[in-house]
């Protein structure tokens, strides 16, 4: 088991290195650097001026060297200006070059400096991730129990009317991407022009103009049902259908197994069979699925945070990508890649733990 986990960890680190290198390469392609030089310097720079700006700021070196610096395994660049001041990757403005570290990169905990937010990337990402964490927590609280409930209810009597209607619901929810359900939710519940809100207003059932709010910006400090339900619901709905379908398939399979028949024959009640006998075995497969949903949820987070203007991790990623903020984008992709890989690892290891029939050699 330990060797299995170690091998998976090794593979994970290799994958993470490859992925970050690809992102590093793509973000450091010349047109991106040229745009960076022009936005940081001035927009009328000539070709030579761009080149010299890049050289002065450590962007002119070979790609591998730059990647090493960013990672923290190569010494940071140092450049002496004409007037004698020494600047460098590891030298904070105003600090003496002698006091600064030689290596500064991800490994040393320095994530770079964001050109859009004018702040350390590490600080920005920590702050935004905590906001997204709040969103994800509520998504999980809403999504996992209801998806499991739907799946178990549908799978316990396969082919029944309940099964068919719940299955249709799960198919419909997987067919509705976040940007569609989000738009529909806003139009119905958060638009003052919607008939529902007008009706509620006329009858004095709501104080404001709408039932829910169409933006979640205020939820960053103070999350209430009014400003937070719609974004949470939007993300949860898309993932819910898939988990429910997997749970249903697994539940239906368990319900046809021999030991359930035995339980029936010895006269157990149906409810007892479902809760005490079937449920535990039926929930092994959904565990993997829930874990593997994280990468998808990441997508949903980006869409929903953009749609509802909730300034979390996904919103930051869009801002970084849209404004050519190279170091912030790199930081975001590190986080995204690590989230994906760690959940894959947890799902593999957890599956082995939960399912005694699987043995790792």
């Amino acid at each position: 088991m330990a060797i299995f986990i170690l091998r998976r960890l090794g593979m994970m680190i290799l994958t993470a290195l490859c992925l970050t290198f690809i992102v590093f390469w793509l973000t450091n392609l010349y047109p991106n650097l040229e745009k960076l030089a022009k936005s940081e310097g001035n927009f009328r720079m000539s070709e030579e001026q761009v080149q010299s700006w890049l050289d002065k700021n450590g962007h002119g070196d070979p790609l591998l060297v730059k990647y090493g610096r960013w990672l923290g395994v190569a010494p940071g660049w140092v450049y002496e200006d004409e007037d004698g001041t020494v600047r460098g990757r590891c030298i904070a403005p105003g600090a003496a070059p002698e006091d600064s570290a030689t290596y500064c990169g991800i490994l040393q905990g320095y994530w770079g400096f964001s050109t859009v937010f004018k702040e350390n990337v590490g600080t920005i990402i920590a702050e935004r991730l905590s906001l997204t964490g709040k969103l994800m927590f509520w998504v999980m609280v809403l999504m996992v129990p209801s998806a499991l409930l739907l799946g178990v209810l549908a799978g316990m009597r396969e082919g029944s009317r309940l099964d068919r209607s719940l299955s249709t619901f799960s198919i419909a929810s997987t067919a509705t991407p976040e940007y569609v359900s989000g738009v529909i939710f806003i139009a119905v519940f958060a638009a003052s022009a919607s008939p529902l809100n007008q009706w509620l207003k006329e009858n004095g059932l709501i104080e404001g103009r709408t039932l829910f709010k169409g933006t979640a910006t205020s939820a960053m400090e103070n999350a209430t049902l009014e400003n937070f339900l719609l974004p949470v619901l939007t993300i949860a709905l898309y993932g819910m259908g898939y988990i429910a379908r997997m749970t249903r398939a697994s539940m239906a399979e368990v319900m046809t197994s021999q030991y359930i028949r035995t339980a029936r024959l010895k006269g157990q009640s149906f409810g007892n069979i479902v809760v005490k006998h079937a449920l535990r075995n039926a929930l092994i497969a959904p565990f993997t699925v829930i874990m593997l949903q994280f990468p998808w949820l990441l997508n949903g987070v980006v869409i929903v945070e953009t749609l509802f203007n909730y300034k979390g991790f996904g919103w930051t990623l869009v801002q970084a990508a849209g404004n050519n903020d190279i170091e912030l984008l790199l930081g975001c992709s590190v986080v995204a890649v690590v989230v994906v890989l760690v959940t894959q690892l947890i799902s593999d290891v957890g599956y082995v733990f939960l399912n005694p029939r699987i043995r790792v050699t």
Binding site: T15, L26, I171, Y179, N299
Partner: protein
């Protein structure tokens, strides 16, 4: 001109629809609650058992559902029969505009039912309710894309003054001679017709999604079959690369591939040059492995594929003034607009690793079967075994996944549009239209809703179709 009402002369039916709808909701709730507590009686069983409340609720549910569907159908059929747009109302007029689609759908379904026995999987699909509903929705959008020019009421790009953000059914202030005099689903924030944009958007989706999925399948099959069959180093490396791409968050990948700066470097064009070779490789290997014992026939088939496919390939990747511009003008048959090519490439790139993994898994399973061993014993080569013995037997799950994947590709295209990546901002595709509409969503919800529902219904149709296909292919 007066504004159009929603249902025109058929407004008498509105209260009926309201009652039927409330009844439907009540019955659904009752059925679900009854489903928890009461077991169903033996309706139709040999032993006569008294009907339980659950059965009664279920019967009522069926009837109320039928009533809702009937009233909705009445609006649509009524639209076809009424004489003027005012009498038809918005819903009726939309139904009237879709006339070519209804006719095409009726013909397709009539023929399919007539020749059910001879149509194989498609014929069987007509026997399943879910499957035929799915097929009807998908075909509806396919025909809509096909007849888009006949259905639209206005030019989807034309901006008519005075129609900015107008609600559905608003008449044009100064209609020209012969112009349709209303905006059926209102105007968007640039005073364009929402209805026409939605209809034109279906064409944007239909020209990219199925073909991109097909290409992704070509790439996935060409790499996945040998990877599963041979295993070893080749498999390890390819699986590693596939996992690498799959571990990328899709949106990050899109942002990295589709931004103008990256497009300037020509990266998507090179990627296109690599990805589009795969169909040709696939076809060449496919036919060569079967016909290599008959040299004359083989050389004819291969030269047709290589010359035909080669010219298509070169015209596809060659772009005037782009990074790949090396063949003479006369050979360049057509030019795919740069934007569409980039969107196409990134969607294929994102989809092919998943297809690769699915194909590889199926091949790993099938290669241990007896008929594969039999082919070996007969002395067939490895490629013949892979492509003519294993692949045809993997078609069931692949067809199902193909349907699901077109839906997923549609969602991806919408995502690209939603972030304003790839397609030009004017484009009427659904993702971009939703993105345009969302900015003023809380004040003017109407421009964003039609494309949202269109996208949802198409993906839903594809999912239902896949579900029906899966059920039917499991019956074999």
């Amino acid at each position: 001109m007066e504004a159009l009402t929603w249902t025109g002369n058929l407004a008498v039916l509105n209260p009926i629809l309201g009652f039927a709808f409330i009844a439907l909701l009540a019955c659904t709730a009752a059925t679900i609650i009854a489903g928890f507590f009461v077991t169903t009686g033996g309706a139709g069983n040999v032993a006569t058992v008294a009907r339980t409340p659950a059965d009664v609720a279920a019967v009522a549910l069926n009837w109320s559902l039928l009533a809702v569907v009937a009233v909705l159908a009445a609006y649509l059929v009524g639209g076809l029969l009424m004489p003027t747009p005012q009498a038809r109302g918005i819903v009726g007029q939309i139904s009237y505009q879709f006339m070519p689609v209804w006719i095409a759908l009726a013909i397709t379904f009539a023929l399919s039912h007539l020749f059910r026995a001879r149509l194989g999987l498609w014929g069987k699909l007509m026997g399943s309710t879910i499957g035929s509903i799915g097929a009807a929705i998908v075909l509806f959008w396919v025909f809509t894309a096909f007849f888009a020019d006949m259905i639209v009421t206005h030019d989807p790009l034309a901006q008519l003054s005075g129609m900015k953000n107008k609600v559905p059914g608003t008449p044009l202030p100064a209609p020209e001679e012969g112009m349709f005099e209303w905006y059926l689903l209102g105007g968007d924030n640039l005073a364009r017709d929402v209805f026409s944009r939605m209809v034109a958007g279906s064409w944007e989706v239909m020209q990219i999604a199925p073909i991109a999925t097909l290409f992704a399948f070509m790439v996935g099959i060409t790499l996945g079959v040998p990877a599963g069959f041979y295993g070893g180093m080749f498999d390890t490396i390819l699986s590693f690369i596939a996992n690498l791409i799959l571990a990328f968050p899709v949106i990050l990948l899109f942002y990295l591939l589709v931004t103008p700066e990256i497009v300037d470097t020509g990266l998507p064009s090179y990627l296109a040059a690599v990805l589009f070779v795969f169909p040709i490789i696939f076809l060449v290997v496919l036919f060569n492995s079967k016909f290599h014992t008959q040299p004359t026939q083989n050389s004819v088939i291969l030269s047709v594929i290589l010359i035909g496919g080669g010219v298509l390939y070169l015209s596809l990747i060659n772009e005037e003034g782009g990074v790949l511009d090396f063949i003479p003008r006369w050979m360049d048959l057509f030019d795919v607009p740069g934007n569409i090519l980039i969107v196409f490439v990134s969607v294929v790139f994102v989809n092919s690793p998943t297809v690769f993994r699915i194909v590889r898994g199926i091949v790993l399973d099938i290669k241990t079967r007896d008929y594969v061993a039999a082919a070996y014993t007969r002395g067939e080569g490895p490629w013949y075994t892979m492509l003519w013995e294993i692949l045809p037997n993997a078609r069931g799950p692949l067809i199902v996944d193909f349907c699901l994947r077109i839906g997923y590709t549609t969602i991806l295209l919408g995502t690209l549009g939603f972030f304003g990546l790839g397609l030009e901002p004017e484009s009427p595709d659904w993702g971009s239209t939703i993105n345009d509409g969302r900015k003023l969503l809380s004040v003017y919800p109407h421009p964003a809703l039609p494309p949202a529902f269109a996208l949802m219904s198409l993906v839903l149709g594809l999912n239902l179709l896949a579900d029906g296909l899966r059920e039917e292919s499991l019956k074999d």
